[in-house]
Amino acid sequence: MAAIPKKKLVQWDPAEVKAELLAKYPSKVARKRAKQIMINEAQGNETPEISANVRTTPGIITMRGCTYAGCKGVIMGPTRDIVNLVHGPIGCSFYAWLTRRNQTDAGPDGENYMNYCFSTDMQDSDIIFGGEKKLTAAIQEAYDLFHPRSIAIFATCPVGLIGDDIHTVAKRMKDKFGDCNVYAFSCEGYKGVSQSAGHHIANNQVFKHIVGENDAEKPGKYKINLLGEYNIGGDGFEIDRIFKKCGITCISTFSGNSTYDQFASAHKADLNAVMCHRSINYVADMLETKFGIPWIKVNFIGADATAKSLRKIAEYFGDKELTDQVEAVIAEEMPEVLAARTDVRTRTEGKTAMMFVGGSRAHHYKELFNEMGMKTISAGYEFGHRDDYEGRQVIPTLEVDADSRNIEEIHVEPDETRYQARKTPAEFEALEKAGYTFKQYDGLVPDMDQGTIIIDDLNQYEAEKLVELMKPDIFCAGVKEKYSIQKLGVPMKQLHSYDSGGPYAGFKGAVNFYQEIDRLVNSRVWSYMQAPWQKNPELSASYVWE
C-alpha cells in the first residue's frame, strides 16, 4: 500500500485553540473547563496545575462512564472464576456483558464465567418492597448451579437508594455455604465523578475480602505482582510470556486473566509492579503497609518501556542470574521490533496523534507513538486525577471534595504475623543511592512537549473542535468517540478495546501497534471521501467521448 502524502504541518496557536474550545460555553461552564484545559508550559521541574477528577457538567456530552462500570466492568470483570452477580435492573449487567475485551484463559481447572452475564433483574416490586430476598435467592441459585469458589455482588443505582443491605446478605450466604466466599460492592453509578471511584471501591473490597486468604507458599525465585493490567486484547498474555522467558514469577495480576486464588496469594510476592497508576496505586500502598511489599511504577506499553521496566524489576532483585536473563531476552526480542519500527517510521515519522483515554493509558501510549516518530500534540485523561497529570508529589495537596469523600479509604496496619520487609534498610538505601526510585510516578505532563494541550475529561464538542483546528493524523479514545471523529476523515483508534486488535503491550505488542497505526494513518480510505464530481464540478460540455 502506497503511503498517501498528507500536507502537514497544520499551524496552530495553543492559546487560540483553547479560546476556541471555550468560546461557545455558558460562562459558568467556560470557567470550569478553563481549569481542565491546560497549555503545557512546563519550565524546569515546576508543572502547571490542572483541575481533574471533578464533576462532569450535566448536559455536556462526556466520554465518562460510572462507578459501577469502573468497579464491575474494569476491575472485577477480568476475573474468571468469580461469579459476578449484578444486583439491580437488567441493563447494567447486560451492558457489561463481554463488551470489554479482557481476554481469559480458562486454565486447567476450566472455570470461566467471563462469557456469562448474571443479574437479579430487579422489578418494580423489588424496588418497592426491597430486593434483599431476591438477591439472596439469586445467590443461592448461582451457588446451586455452578458451585463457584466465590460470588461477587455489585450494587447498581437503585440498590443504595432503597437501602438493600447487600453486605449483610453476602456475609450470611458466605457463612451458609462455607466453601464459597461471597462479598459485595457498593458501586452505585451515582457515586464519585467517574469510573475512578469504582476502581477504588473494587480494589478496597478485593483487599479486604480476598488478599491474604491463601498463605500457602508459592514456588518461584523472583516473585512479583503486576498491578493495574487488565489483559485487553491479550496484553497480559504477552507480558506473561515475557516474564516467563525472563524467569520472573507473577503471583497475581490485578486483574487481567486473574483468579480468586491469585488475589488471595498476592501477599506472597516480593515486589509490586504498577502499570495503571490511576486505578490501583493505593492498593500498592496498602500491600506495602500491611505486608511490606515495596512497589515500583512500570510500563509495558512500548518496546523500550518494556525493556526499561524489565531492567527495573531485575535491578530490584539485584541478582546476576536474573539480570543476565533479562538482558538476553531483550537482546532476543528487540531486533524484530526494531526492524518493524524502522519500516513503519518511513511512513509515520512526523505525523501527529491525540489521545484522550483512561487514567494512565494516554501517558503509556505516548511511548509507542514516540517510537514511531509521531508527536502527541494533545492528550488527557477520562478519569485521571491530578497526580496522574502532575505526578505523585501533589497527592498531599489534593483536597477531598464532596464526591470523593464518600469513597471509602481503608486504613491499614502492618500485619502482626505476616508483615515482612523485603529488604534491609541498607539494601533499600543502596538501591536508592544508585538512583532507584520506589513508589514514584511523575505523571503525563512532564512528558508532553512545550505548547501541547492537555485536557481533562474531554467532551464530544471539544473533541470535534480540536480535530478541526489541529488536524491530527490519528485520534485515540473510546468507541463512543470513534465514528464522530472518523466522519471528519481522521482515523480513530480505540485505546480501551483496541478495535478488536492487540495485544499492544510488550515486544510483540509494539510490533502489532506499529503496523496497526501504519495501516490507519496511511490508509487510502480517507482519500475516498471526495467524489470525482466534487473534485471537478463543471458540467456537460466537457464530456469527452472516445
Binding site: 462512564g65 462500570a69 435492573p89 437488567i90 441493563g91 439469586a138 441459585e141 443505582c157 468507541v479
Partner: protein
Amino acid sequence: MLLRHTPKEITERSALVINPAKTCQPIGAMYAALGIHGCLPHSHGSQGCCAYHRSALTRHYKEPVSAATSSFTEGASVFGGQANMLQAIDNIFAVYDPEVIAIHTTCLSETIGDDLKQIKKKADAEGKIPKGKEIISCSTPSYVGSHVTGFSSMVTSMAKMAEPTGKKNGKLNIIPGWVEPADMEEIKRLVGLAGVKTILFPDTSGVLNGPLSGEYKMFPDGGTTVKELKSTGDSIGTLALGEWCSGEAARWLDSKMKVPCRVLDMPFGLSATDRFIDALRMIAGVSVPDEIALERGQLVDMISDMHQYFYHKKVALVGDPDQLIAMTEFLVSLDMCPIHIVTGTPGKKFEARIKEITKDMPYEVNVRAKGDMFLLHQWIKNEPVDLIIGNTYCKYIARDEDIPFVRWGFPILDRQGHQYFPTVGYKGGLRLLEKILGVLLDRLDRDAPEQSFELVL
C-alpha cells in the same frame, strides 16, 4: 466450550437471570428519540447509563450516537436531579442547539421520584427553552418492562406532540416500531409505491446509516421532523407495526386525537407483508402497483425454488416480541419448524400468539416470555436445532453446539449489513431467505461426504 458451565438439565430459577434476552428501557427510548430530526436524547440519571446506551448503539450501527446525561452525583441522588436537569437544558441549547431534547428517566431518577413534567414547567418558567425548541420526555424506569417498552414509551411521547388543527392532512401515520434504518427506508419506499402519503415515526434512516463525507453532522439529515410529529393528529389514520413497539402510541392518537388506528404485525416475511400492503391499498383506495406485486412474486418464487432446504428444519429464535411473532409466522410458512422461542420482554400474550402460529407444527414448541438465553441454550441441548436466529450473543451458543446461525435483531455487534439492507417487506423476505439458505447450505457443503458433495443445489 465458551459456555462450559451451562448444564443440560433444566432447573427453574426464580431470581437469577443468566444471559439476558432483553436490556433496560432507557436504551429503547434513546433509539426512538434518534428517529426525530434534530433531536438530542437525554438520559436523566447517572452518566453511566448514557455511556452504556451510546456504546451499545454505536457498536450496533458503527455510527456516532449523541446523547446527553444529567450526570447525577451522590448529592443529586439525595436532593433530586432537578438542578442537574435544568443546568443540562441550559448547556445543551447553548452548546448543541438541537430542535428537540427527548428526555427519558432511569431507575435512579425514578426511584428518587423526579418529576420531569414539573422540571419542564420550571425550565419553561425560567425561559430556559428557546422559542421554537421542544422538550419531550417519557418515564422509563429500568426495573419495568424492557428496551422494547422503553422504545414504546418514547414513541408515545412523540405521538403526544400532536397538535391537531382540525383540518385533516390526508396522510397516514405509520409507526414502524424498533426496526433498522434500512427497514424504515424500505417501508417508506413501499408506501411511496402504493401512493400513500405518510408520516413515519420514528424514522432513523439517514440518522444511523449515514455517509462518510468528511463532515460530521451531530444532527444528521434524517429523522421525523417536529412539524410532521405535530401534524399526526390531523392524519386520516395510524398503522402501528408491532403491538409491543407501536400499539400504545397508535391507541393514544386514536382515543385522544380521534385518529383511527390499526395494529398490524411487523412486515417481516410473506404473510405479514401481505397484510401490511393490503391495509395500505385499502386505506388509500388504490390497487397494488405491479412493482410490489413483482417483488411479492419473486419472494414466492424463491420460497418454492428452495423449499426443499427449508422443509422441517428446526429453528431456535431469540429476540423481541414483535419481531419474533412475524419471524415465527414466516418460518412456519416456509415449512420450517421454530421449536425454541425466547424473548426477555414480559408478556404472556406473546406466548399465546406463538402457540397459535405454531399449532399445526409437527414438533412440540418451547416458548417463553421473560426468559433468558441460558434457558434457550438448555432447551437446545435437550432438543437440538438446525438453525439459530438471534442477536450476536447467540454466537456463543452456535459455536458451542455447532449450529448454523443467522444474525437478526438487536444488537448485532460483529457483522455489517443490517443498517443498509432491509429485512422488512418482500425484498426483505428475499434477504432473509438468502441468509437462512446461505448458512444451511454452507453447513450442507461443509458436512457432505465427498461422494455427495454437490455442484448444483
